[in-house]
Symmetry: C2
Subunit: 516 residues, 2 copies
């Protein structure tokens, strides 16, 4: 290969001179040195000679956050593409429980629940052990109601049930009609397509491309990528004239990364997440100069079952039941923690027990709280079981029966007086004693569910670099970011986070000045 060929293949002479010219000028400013001053992006990347595709805004990820960004960017007049490495859209959003926490809604009012953004923020900070980035947590708490209403009125998602999640101080979680995030994300997907946004699945981010000023100007991707086969796909270069929005989700399925951050989370812990929830896009952003934060706070879902794979049906049985039913340590026959504790508290308590525990509800609470189809499915696969008597429950799980019966009676006495003397579990106005046969029971063992840490963003969803300055041209939203939730994310706040910051990111990305 001749030298000229090589040069031709990598970067044009004109670009080369432009680069060095600017760098030399910068160098002069610091005293006529022999080497240019550099910013966080080192010398920048050699730009591709030819971009295969060009858009104003490139969104990575097609979950709640990515689609919210795409819709807002498109509506602000930008030419937008959404990339997703998986063969289906929706990421974790499509398999999540479909619970949207928002304060001060009409559904709360109709249910007689008094709430405010201020109270929701306090709940988030308390659960987050005050590690939350306060401004960003405030954005979510104060923006959740508007985002929720947007998801109803503009997107058309239907919410039919007001749920409680542990750690919240009131019922403020709005369950979709299907008890699944697919209700929202599929309608967002349809809206995105209706608006004329191009969606490219099987398109995997390889790296961010920065120019000499450290501005993100595009991406190297692999198209026709077949997850998880890293030998697949064809390299292409996508130019982002205005900005990239990274909304690639968390890394709960990334065994290597999660074990660096929290070595306890070996392959002995399953995950509720879709298999593509790995961290390479987040790492690519760090390589491009983005700062990561609080990566070691990885949430275990306390409501998952060892008797089914992934997220499964038991979380949709357990979570509506807390405050209506009781958790039992089968070894002792006794309760061991407050059922309405936050996710971390409960997961820690179950791990301390050392083996799966039980959640139980009766035939008053279960039909009232649990979506029938989900209950049915959970029973079909054997993860939720039905028993005619409490004695049968004890027998099946090898629980000391006398202690167990006394413990259920003790729980029922707490329900009668609306106060749990043992653990301080919240008992709702419509909670009744657990007495109506048959009884429904599932086993619980934690699975890796949500990664609280991620990229540092400001309240404009602008990514911040290791030099404490904005990484120009890069926005981020959703689980790939860190700081909103601090140490512990509360139930239903993922949807609020994704919609609030996804929309902000999309608007601001569209408002960027095009670089070229």
């Amino acid at each position: 290969m001749k030298k000229d060929d090589i040069k031709e293949k990598t970067l044009s002479r004109r670009n080369f001179l432009k680069t060095t010219g600017a760098a030399a000028a910068a160098a002069m400013a610091v005293g006529g040195l022999a080497i240019p001053a550099k910013n966080a992006q080192a010398a920048g990347d050699a730009l591709p000679k030819k971009w295969d595709e060009t858009y104003d805004v490139v969104v990575i990820g097609s979950g709640f956050a990515g689609l919210a960004a795409a819709i807002e960017a498109k509506n602000a007049g930008a030419n937008v593409v959404v990339l997703d490495k998986m063969p289906v859209h929706g990421g974790n959003s499509i398999i999540n429980g479909g619970d949207f926490s928002a304060p001060g809604t009409k559904m709360q009012e109709a249910n007689g629940v008094k709430d405010s953004a201020e109270v929701m923020l306090k709940d988030m900070l308390r659960a987050g052990l005050y590690l939350n980035h306060p401004e960003n947590a405030k954005m979510v708490a104060y923006g959740a109601k508007d985002a929720f209403e947007w998801s109803e009125s503009y997107i058309g998602a239907r919410y039919t049930k007001l749920n409680f999640h542990g750690g919240h101080s009131v019922k403020r979680t709005h369950g979709t009609i299907t008890a699944s995030g697919s209700e929202l994300v599929n309608k967002m997907y349809a809206k995105t397509k209706d608006l004329g946004v191009k969606i490219q699945l099987r398109t995997k981010l390889v790296k961010f491309i920065s120019n000499k000023e450290g501005r993100i100007v595009g991406l190297e991707v692999r198209k026709d990528y077949k997850f998880p086969d890293e030998s697949t796909g064809k390299t292409a270069f996508i130019k982002a004239k205005k900005a990239v929005v990274l909304s690639s989700g968390g890394f709960s399925q990334d065994l290597r990364l999660r074990q660096i951050q929290d070595p306890r989370l070996t392959d002995k812990f399953g995950s509720t997440n879709q298999p593509g929830a790995t961290g390479e896009a987040l790492m690519a952003a760090c390589i491009a100069g983005a700062m990561d934060v609080q990566m070691d706070w990885i949430q275990l879902g306390p409501w998952t079952s060892p008797d089914e794979k992934g997220f499964g049906y038991v979380p949709l049985f357990c979570e509506p039941l807390v405050g209506y039913g009781l958790m039992i340590n089968p070894k002792t026959g006794k309760r061991f923690f407050k059922e309405t504790g936050n996710r971390k508290e409960r997961a820690d308590a179950i791990i301390a027990v050392g083996e799966p525990v039980l959640i139980m509800g009766d035939s008053y609470a279960v039909p009232k709280q649990v979506v029938p189809e989900k209950l049915q499915k959970g029973m079909e696969i054997g993860a939720i079981k039905k028993f005619d008597t409490l004695e049968d429950v004890a027998k099946n799980y090898n629980i000391p029966v006398d202690v167990f019966l006394k413990e259920v009676a003790r729980w029922n006495s707490f329900v009668e007086k609306k106060k749990d003397d043992d653990f301080g579990c919240m008992i709702f106005p419509d909670t009744k004693p657990t007495v109506v046969a048959p009884f429904y029971v599932a086993r619980l063992w934690p699975k890796v569910h949500h990664t609280m840490g991620g990229l540092v963003i400001d309240k404009n969803a602008q990514v911040i670099g290791f030099d404490f300055k904005p990484v120009k041209g890069l926005y981020a939203a959703g689980e790939v970011t860190g700081g909103v939730h601090g140490a512990v994310r509360l139930g239903g706040v993922a949807m609020a986070d994704c919609l609030v910051f996804g929309r902000v990111a999309g608007k601001n990305a569209a408002d960027e000045k095009a670089w070229g």
Copy 2:
């Protein structure tokens, strides 16, 4: 300025062609693309036309870890320089308490203490909430004895007292004769100079310089830098033929960085650290592609006093006294937590009290436990006070006197039976009831002390990048690294960590193949 001048000033044509040639070759390997495949270091930096200085190994930081690395690298035959941005050598090491935790030593044997590396490792993991990188924690626990003996026999440091630190299960902390780390670090400094290692103070790292393969090949620094004036210093380029060892310490004094990681740690919390304990060298490593981990675990020292600045004398009064004296909440007149709890437990407990608490010892325990000169100094500045009676103590601190007297009697009853029924404080064989006047008291309020998080290293002290591969040419040791201590560093393990990994880093850096 002419185009040729510009080119001349930035990088030689020969280097340019070499770069693009290799990159194009890499590109061909992935399918004849128009743009080279890149590694974590993007396109690499333009190398300086002229290096101002060249060494085999460049060590950044002149504390325990840096000097240990310099000594070992020099003894392995390398040409070594040590850089430090401050006008004095020693970093935090020179002002620390001089406590070195190591298991199975002769001093432990002489004191009848049975111990092992296995037990020390267990203590580290338990305190670290099992977030510790197990292999690295093991390196420290199993290497501490050898490093301790090296510090005595090779460096000549003198240790005269076996101390206890909260969270350890036995007394395994060896106090220097001066109750200060200066005893060790000054002797290491003298040894480093004796060996012919050049030490350049007032030399601040600006950035790491990588070549096109992502290998660290040198540094951009500012010489004659006058901390903290960022307008000072003259740019110079230092070539590291074999490797750079980063041992720049933690970031407890870096308000901006620590608040991103833990927003609670505002300027309302002082720090025990020297003012130069800021994070810019750590951030520079991340910009060069190094992965950071567990940065949000920032340790508050529970033994610091609001009545003196920085580390001060009270930690040297409080820490030898735990297990011999008692802590009191002045509002209630009662004890509130086990005095021998680990740093995090105690700091959390004091913050929960909401105002400074007291540590108290009598005239049996204090002269026996506390180095006389340090006690004297603490009293001279008024941070430690002496009282003839317990009633005088109560009066001075507005403690409810009746409750207080009963509480001291209760503590004394626990000491008599060698068991603390209230909080499970460890009571040592030679602990006696607190009865001998006069009584010594200091107030305690936490200060930011140690940043557990930092760069990911493997057990060879090799820095790992965001691409999970080694950052070639870069080693790190000491507080700038993360993972050894997990969530909580135990007392005296910093010295062990710095010496174990500093020595490993120095040896491995010297063993690297020179790149050019």
